[in-house]
């Protein structure tokens, strides 16, 4: 059996593989959004002066970063029913990926916040801002600039590591490929197609990430806000012309 182009091309446009790829995308996005929320709370807790609060966050981060995601997924899906907690495949996959992501994101978030100069806290406080206002208006927007590049890498990683959910029979891209390969016996062609799909997704994300990064770099790129605003209003028209 040699390489078959017709089979390869058939799999490449197969709705079955596309469905799997789509599942990978939404599973990654949903897990990421929940993971970021969890990590945000965990980061703020970890920085709390209250030892119990920061201890809880520290324990969470330590436990989830210190154990393999694969083990966590199997415990959630196959282990917890022993305690009477039964979660479906999708719930288990999202829970596993999100809670795991949250532990990593908490540390990224924390380093982003601590990277903001101490003088910014002083200035915000001196203007009469509460902790909440200070975070919202002064600290987090600046931390975001530091956080966005590693956060983008985390999402890139998530697109790939979500394939681990295949072990609990989540029908994402890898699982779709596995099942197709079992039926068709065309292992190389099928997995090649899967690899191309993953590559397409991560490459597309790379473009998005660069746009987001340049957005947050704008105050630092040497143009003033009026010029940047003018550029923004020109932007849609320019792309319209190009798309025609």
């Amino acid at each position: 059996m040699t390489w078959s182009w017709p089979d390869f091309l058939e799999y490449l446009v197969s709705p079955y593989m596309m469905r799997g790829a789509w599942t990978t995308v939404w599973l990654s996005v949903v897990s990421m959004v929940i993971g970021i929320s969890l990590g945000f709370v965990a980061a703020l807790m970890k920085m709390s002066h209250n030892r119990v609060v920061s201890g809880i966050a520290g324990f969470y981060i330590w436990l989830w970063r210190g154990t393999p995601l694969l083990v966590q997924l199997v415990i959630i899906y196959a282990g917890l029913p022993q305690l009477g907690i039964r979660l479906g495949v999708i719930e288990s996959a999202i829970l596993g990926l999100a809670v795991n992501e949250g532990a990593y994101f908490a540390e990224i978030m924390r380093s982003g916040i601590t990277a903001v100069d101490k003088g910014q806290h002083d200035a915000a406080r001196a203007l009469g801002m509460t902790y909440r206002k200070m975070m919202q208006i002064v600290i987090l927007p600046q931390a975001t600039r530091v956080i966005v590049p590693p956060l983008g890498n985390q999402f890139l990683g998530m697109l790939k590591t979500s394939s681990l959910a295949s072990v609990i029979s989540m029908e994402e891209l890898l699982r779709s490929a596995q099942q197709l390969a079992q039926i068709e016996f065309r292992v190389l062609e099928v997995y090649f197609v899967a690899a191309i799909y993953y590559l397409a997704m991560t490459t597309a994300w790379g473009f998005v990430q660069r746009r987001i990064e340049s957005h947050y770099d704008r105050p630092f790129d040497g143009r003033d806000s009026a010029a940047a605003a003018a550029q923004r209003t020109v932007d849609p028209a320019a792309t319209e012309v190009i798309s025609r």
Binding site: A123, A126, L127, G128, T130, K133, P219
Partner: protein, 262 residues
């Protein structure tokens, strides 16, 4: 030594026997000082003498270990509760800080916001002012500090002197009762110092109450009502500029003057 204000009016800022230490290091030793409305007080002293710490204590960026600080009739940072003093809640502390504008050595402008947004951030988000009126006043302040054309620039595009003038406008935007300056020209290149001092002298002429920690004795001569020397956590000299420079009482002041004056 207790600071006596030159005019017989109620002090706007009263500092009474304030003590503060960082670990074993006693930084402020029972410091007392009154500042009358409209008065300009310059605080000089070597680094480590406690002058910046005193300034930061006034708007509660540092908490004090003993003593009390009042603006008007209001005790800073604490309230009476059954005969005892308890620390205020965060929101009350934040409200009190709105009354005092502060300018820092390192400017501390918000780098992600345009100049105008730096100035209007607190009026809009802290005091709930309408954007239109906050921006109108912000532009007026920018003109006052001589930078009307920089509203849409980002801090990174400005020189140090320009940044510090924006920082002064930002503090003024909250319409404070007094202004605190923490070595406002120490981080500036020499050629930019005067543009900042000019703005400050202007402000003092408009009757703003100011406490200025600085090494610029030229400013002290031109604008101060009183000059204070801090030495090892205490106020050792407290006199009108004329007297401070020509007839200092304390040994520390004489030494200080001999080093800085030609």
């Amino acid at each position: 030594m207790t600071g006596q204000s030159s005019a017989p009016v109620r002090p706007l800022i009263r500092i009474q026997r304030v003590r503060k230490s960082f670990g074993d290091n006693l930084v402020l030793r029972d410091v007392s000082l009154n500042v009358a409305p409209g008065e300009v007080v310059v605080i000089a002293g070597r680094s480590g003498s406690g002058k910046s710490t005193l300034l930061r204590c006034i708007n509660n960026l540092e908490t004090i270990d003993a003593g009390s600080i009042y603006t008007g009739d209001e005790l800073i940072g604490y309230r009476q509760l059954g005969g005892k003093l308890v620390p205020m809640r965060e929101a009350e502390v934040a409200r009190q800080r709105q009354e005092l504008g502060m300018v820092f050595q390192q400017f501390n402008l918000f780098p992600h916001l345009s100049v105008l947004d730096n100035i209007t951030a607190a009026p809009i988000h802290v005091r709930g002012e309408a954007r239109s009126s906050a921006e109108a006043y912000g532009r007026e302040l920018l003109s006052r500090v001589g930078l009307p054309e920089k509203a849409h620039a980002y801090p990174k595009q400005l020189s140090g002197g320009q940044q510090q003038r924006v920082a002064i406008a930002r503090a003024l935007a909250m319409r404070p009762r007094a202004m605190l300056f923490d070595e406002p020209t120490s981080a500036l290149d020499p050629e930019m110092i005067s543009e900042v001092l000019d703005v400050m002298i202007d402000l003092s002429r408009q009757g703003m109450t100011m406490i200025v920690v600085t090494h610029e004795m030229g400013f002290a001569r031109a604008a101060a009502d009183r000059v204070i020397l801090m030495h090892q956590g205490e106020i050792v000299e407290n006199a009108p500029p004329e007297e401070f420079f020509t007839a200092p009482k304390s040994e520390a002041t004489k030494q200080f003057l001999s080093k800085i004056l030609p």
